[in-house]
Structure formats: C-alpha cells, structure tokens
Subunit: 491 residues, 2 copies
Amino acid sequence: MRADWRVEFTGRILLLGCGAVSRCLQPLLLRHVAMNFGELTIMDRVDSRTGAESALARGARFVRHRLTRQNYPHTLARELGPGDVLINLTWDVDSRDLLWWCHRNGVRYLDTSLETWASEGDSTTTAADRTTYRRHGKLYELGARLDPAGPTAVVEHGANPGLVSHLTKRALHDVATAVLADRDAGSGPAVDDDGALESALADGDHARIAMTTGTRAIHISERDTQRGEIPKDVDEFVNTWSVKGFYEEATAPAELGWGTHERELPPLAVTHETGPRNQIYLARTGMSTWVRSWVPSTGPMLGMMISHGETFTISDGLTVRDPSGLPIYRPTVHFAYLPSDAALASLHEFRMRGYRTQSRQRIVDDEIVAGSDELGVLLLGHGRNGWWTGTSLDIHEARSLVPGQNATTLQVAASALGALRWMLLHPNRGLRVPDDLDHEEVLAAAEPYLGECPSVPTGWTPFDGADDRLDAPVRSSDEDDPWQFGNVLVR
Amino acid sequence: MRADWRVEFTGRILLLGCGAVSRCLQPLLLRHVAMNFGELTIMDRVDSRTGAESALARGARFVRHRLTRQNYPHTLARELGPGDVLINLTWDVDSRDLLWWCHRNGVRYLDTSLETWASEGDSTTTAADRTTYRRHGKLYELGARLDPAGPTAVVEHGANPGLVSHLTKRALHDVATAVLADRDAGSGPAVDDDGALESALADGDHARIAMTTGTRAIHISERDTQRGEIPKDVDEFVNTWSVKGFYEEATAPAELGWGTHERELPPLAVTHETGPRNQIYLARTGMSTWVRSWVPSTGPMLGMMISHGETFTISDGLTVRDPSGLPIYRPTVHFAYLPSDAALASLHEFRMRGYRTQSRQRIVDDEIVAGSDELGVLLLGHGRNGWWTGTSLDIHEARSLVPGQNATTLQVAASALGALRWMLLHPNRGLRVPDDLDHEEVLAAAEPYLGECPSVPTGWTPFDGADDRLDAPVRSSDEDDPWQFGNVLVR
C-alpha cells in the first residue's frame, strides 16, 4: 500500500476526546480520509480546542460536552445517524453502552480501549471485576445480542491491545516460513508434522500454526526509552501516554493467557470458573509483577505483567480445541512492559503514596530529547527458539511523521487509523476484536507510521540475563523447559 | 559551635582519591583546617587535578599514582610519618591494610567506607563474604591487635555509615526527653521504669535508653529527590554519588541488625554462627529487597534494604546484655534507601542486563535542577510511636555552601570533616567506628553543611501507605505488633 493511501467517506465522524491520541489521529484523518471535514466533530469534556487546530482549520467543529450515562443517547442522536462513524478515545465513557447504541442506530464504532463510566471503575470493585477477562466476558455477552452483519464495531484497536494481534499473525507466518525453509534446507530441528504446518499456513489458520510450530509463550514485549529534559518532579506522574489509563491498568491484577503446556500455577494465581477459562490472574497488581522478556534493540529486559486486553483475545484466538470443545493447545500470553524511566519512577512513587494519584500529571511531548518505543510480540518455544515481530519508532522519526507527537501516541493513532480504514471498507461486519480483522490489510495502512518493523529470530531464553548468584535461582523442576512461566516470573 | 570554626594542624595530610567526595571535602579543609597547605597532597590513580583547583591554588600538591597491594607501604612511607593524617576516599584500596600501616607508623587514618583491593571484591566471592557482617568481623579481628591508645583511626565515617550513628544518639535523647516530658505532663503512655530511663539518659547510656523507651526498630531512611535536566541515556548509570560504590552495595545481600523482639525470620534469611550474631542477611540482593519506611518531607516511602555498615555498628552498639553476656535487648536496624529517579532507572537496567555494568557512568552535579537528599534515622515502637532525626539538604543550599557540589556529596564530606576535626583533637584513641565518637561534637562541626536538621515525631506505621486491596496483606500473625519486620518487608 502506498504511504499516501486515501479512503473515501461520505458520512459524519464524531471523535470523542481530544487528548494525546486524538490530537495525533486528527492529522492522519486529514491526510488519509477523503471526506468533507465539515462533517467531522471533535467533542471533549474540557475546552481543548487548541489541540484540534489543524482539523478546525479544515472545517471540523469542536464541541465542549461531557458525555454521561444519562445524556449519551440524546447527544449521540444529535450528532450521528446511519452510515456515520463514532471514534471513542475517552477514558471515562462506557464502551459497551456506546457500542450498543451505535449498533441499534446503524453507526460504526471504534475505540482503542474498553472503558466504563468513570464513576463505575472506582476502588470498591473486586480484583476479579478489574480483570480484562471480566471485561471481555461482558463484551462477549453483548456480542451475542448483536447482528453479525450489523454495523461494524472494532474495539480495543490501539497499539496494544490492537496492533499486536496483527503482529502476532505476521510473526506466526514468519516463524512457520522459517521453520519450513530450515526443513527444506536440511537445517534446524526436524518438522515431523505430516504436512500440518504447511496446510495450516496455506489456510491462514493461526491457531494451528502456533500449535504446529510448538509456540509455547507469546510476550507482548515493550520497552519505552523516550526521555525528556524536564525531569519528573516530586508528586508528579510523568508518562508518554494517558496517565489515568496507566493508573488504572497498573493497579489491575496481573493477568495472562494460560498455556496448555504449563505445569504449575504461579503463586497467588486465581482461575476462572465460567467462560472460556483461557486466562488466569494473580492476586497482586500488574505493576508489582515483573517478568523476564527481550526486545531487539537492547536485549534482555524486565517488564511489568500489566493486565491488557490482547492477552485475552490472542490466547483465545490461538486456542485449538478437540471435537468435544476441550482445549488441546493454547500458548501462554502476557504483557512485559518497561515504561519510560520517568514513568517507572512515577509508578514507584504512586505505590508508596498508598496508590493515591499524584497531584500533578504530565504527558511528555516536546520535552523529549531522545528515545523510542519498541513494541512487539515475542513468540517463544518453537523450532526457531524465539522470534520478535514489532515496531520500533524513534521520537525523531515520529515527529517528522506527525509534528508535536511522541512515538507511543503515534503507534496508537496509526493502529486506530488502520482499523478505521478497514471499517470504512468493511462497514457491515458486526462486533470485531482486533484478531478478527485482516491483519496484513490493517498493518499495511498503519506501517507508514510505525518506523522500523523488524521480524527477527532470537536465541534468548529466560535463563539469559538472570544471575543465579544475585537472583533467586530458577526452580529446578523447570530447568528442562525454559518456557515454563515459572522461569519468566521474577521472584 | 560557630559555623566558621577552625582547627589547628601542623602535620601533613594525604588525601587519597579525587572523586566527588574528595572534591567537596577539599574546600572544607581549606576553610576549617588551619595548616600549611603545602603539606596537603591529593593522590589519584588518574589525572584529576582539575577537580582539585582550589586546593592546588593554596599550595597543595597533586600526585598521579595508583596505590596497589604491592606499592602502598613504599608510597605511604614516602608521603607520611608520625603525626600525619591519611584520608582514604578511594573505592579500590583496602581499608584494613592502610589502617594497619597507619597504626604502626603513627599516622591518623580516616575513611568513609570499608573497602578492599579492587581485585578482591570480584564476583567469585560468596554472598556471606559480601556482607558487612563479614567486613566488620575482620575489622574487629584487626582492632584486637591494635593499641587502644594508638593513633586514632576512624572508619566508615561518611553520611551513612557515619553521620547516622550520631543522629541515632540524638534521636534517642530526643525520644527519651519527650517521653519523660509526657510523663511529667500526665500525657502519653505511662513510663513505668523505676527511673531507669532518667538514669540511662543521665549516663548517656544509649543502649539502655533504646531499651527503656521500647525502641524496636531503627530505619536509616533516605530519599534522594535530586533530578537533572540531562536524562539518563540507555546503557548509562546516573547517580548522585559513586556509581562503582552503588554497584557494589546494591548487589550485596540484603542485610539488617536483627532485633530481640522479632518473632520470625523473613524468607531467605541466613543467620551467622560466629561473632556477635547481631545481624542476619537474606539470600537476595539489597536492590531487590524493598521495605516500607517514612521521611518527613513526603511521608510514607518504599526503600531498598541495601547492606550498609551502620546497621552493624548501631545494632551492636545498642545491644544490652545480661551479666552472662546474652543479649536481652537489641533493635532491628536496616537501611531504607530510595535513590534519585535516575539511579532507580539505572539500577533496573543494570539488573536486566544480568548485572553487567552500564558502559557509561555519570555522577550528576551541575545538571541538577531541583531536589534534596533527606537522610535520617527513624526510631520506631517507643512511647512516641515514631521519631525521625536527620538532615534534609536542598541542592540549592548545598551549592551555596560549596559551589559545584550536590547535596549527597556534601552530606558525606561534612561528616568526614566532623570526624577529621574530632581526630585532630583526639589523636590517640585507636580504632574507632562512628558510634565510638562524641556524637554532639561531630554533629556540631558538620551541621553548618547539613541544611535543615529536623528531629520530629511521627505517627507512621508500616500499615500506612499499604493498600490491602492492591498489595498482599500483612501477615495476620503480626497485626498486633506493627514493628515486626514482616510488616515492613514488601512482598
């Protein structure tokens, strides 16, 4: 796809929220969507129109309005009708309520994160309520009531969740291709699969590719090295993306898709009794749960196992079941997130304040002097050992692509743009999670904004970068299988 | 004591090392020691004379020379004789070898940290070898061979170890005074001690003051908020003090003085079989062992339980024994260190690199834009609950006191200066740890450089700032006693 691709659209777009991602997405809409921008409305609870200047200059309208559980049907009915598009980039408006309204009113819906009304995400909820498992369970309940040929609704389509589901499929394809090439060249481990891998590859059956290649674990591995010349102050949270979003997910229970190869539940593990049971969570926060992982630029890393929607959809989507419906294969899937240094220090301060939010919050942009956001999927345990597929976007390249933005925000906006294009071209596909979209089509639209996109093998195992003299040694029971989660979890 | 106090000295001073602390101490020597500065020699393994300009301008001599196990007797004999002073501010020269040489040659000795020859501190040592318990055990063996009226040698007299031993005594005095005042005013808990507290206070018997006040735990609690406008780079360690020193102590086993009130050893605890047995260590690094603590400016904090010499000397010095020599009272004593944000991120990167040191290292000075180093002792469990006594030195005040220095370095240098003054006034007291000096005399000399020196009560307990919903709850067995170490250790 050409970097200057355009898609025609004749309806209205309501863009909810004018925060960092919205400000980054707006110039992309102006570039890639051929529409009358008089039909674009940007709505925010505060007067943030200075963040929407380029769109307003092209005719878009800014509306200051706070959407609530009470007023949203009236507000949306005033702004949108059949054939129109709602893009929800807020953090305090309920995704499912909007999605349901859109479905009944012929409106396409897109968001980057499943949210609830702000007042309902408060601290009185239980740990189980704050899992993505629960959120996705409710989403699936809603989905069962929707017409599968109804107006397209794409949920959780940012960088992650979102882009990483597509990167997983690309990685599986690349691993399978490499393994088969090794076989044909007579190198690498023997592939004794009676043609199952070639057949799965030809069918685009990613669950069977994952199973047949022996992929045991998938990390969403991300290291953000963006750093600024204005240091974090005491009692200030500094982040490269939404501070409110980070507070929420950092304090959610550590959560992961649980592979069929795992022998032993980790300490504090809780399993689910209903639903697909593809995930477990730990009775501790994601921000205090560290795992070993790897990124191409700097090698071994330690990241936080923050709860994230993609672990649900990827581990669910890659589950292979026997004819009776019992799972016979599923990879372990989890996030390993090393945020910027300033965010790391901010989280530590947040925790020691008894999880009271800092009184000042800042999303860095122009003050960044160097760094990149490296985000990808790390497939482990297959015939090529490890394989990382992702995006590595430098701050300077991000700025050259969209002035004033940072790398993290652009990765999210680029992914939302790719999903929007897919939605406009496929307007009647009902409710979709990222894993349900055509991955190469979405990636091709987003890639002009993703910087380098390596897809590379690695010999890393969790035993690398761990010092037995200084860290508690790995459990001897897992020494024969590096891909047991017990080897990845830092104790 | 007047801020412009001066002490006369007629001999020679050899200052080993021209790193950050040495550069800060030199202008203090020029100000406070009345001597012929032609007799001051600054020796460093590299040509760092640009860091010694003010001293060189006053007549001091710079010698580039690397002291080794082989050449040190010859070098020292050339530079020093009876009545002279050796100040060792290196990190790679063995304290005990120098101390022993000084003792036999009538030379006074001062250092801020017990070090060994660089080649002997390598990674082949066992965890037990890297404990301060072992280092102090060897020091005591050496001390037994020394004449108690020989030339004074003061070891480990920086900020901590060093200053904090004196602050502990001041805090004990203030707690006792407050508790007795409460009694006399008829407020506060009853003191039913048959006059033991008043008697201990009158005697200056700090161990008995600690026991009689019911002091159960002493934290060396430090938060460094100094922050600069040049962010930490990838593969760079940024610190407010010696990077090499921090590498070494951060990877040493977590270690603490073990109180007689403790009911249960923490996980991975190792006890000692020989010596005073006042300490235990954990089979994990200090940098990965977090404890709850408190500082006056920002309240509850989480710090690392880094191994530090003062935990040995304070817990040993405050032990009360029965006539048979069995300990009947000892407080738990440990460090709780929250370094600068840049150092926190540097340590995390260091760990995930498999404890390979970063290729670049930087000690911040002029690039600091704000922050302070708040360092004190937190006495817990007595009749006033908690009491913090320490120094809070802002970067701007530090610079106004000694241009070009940061707060951390000045706290160390001020303490060394106080010890030097004591040593010059008391030249024949043999080997001394900080706890053996007159605390108010040393504090008075150092205080002009320590900024604010609060000595204040606090109602903090380790249950504050812990969120049971998000952190693993405290052990129910310890709920009746907040001062069990199990409540302080973060799990």
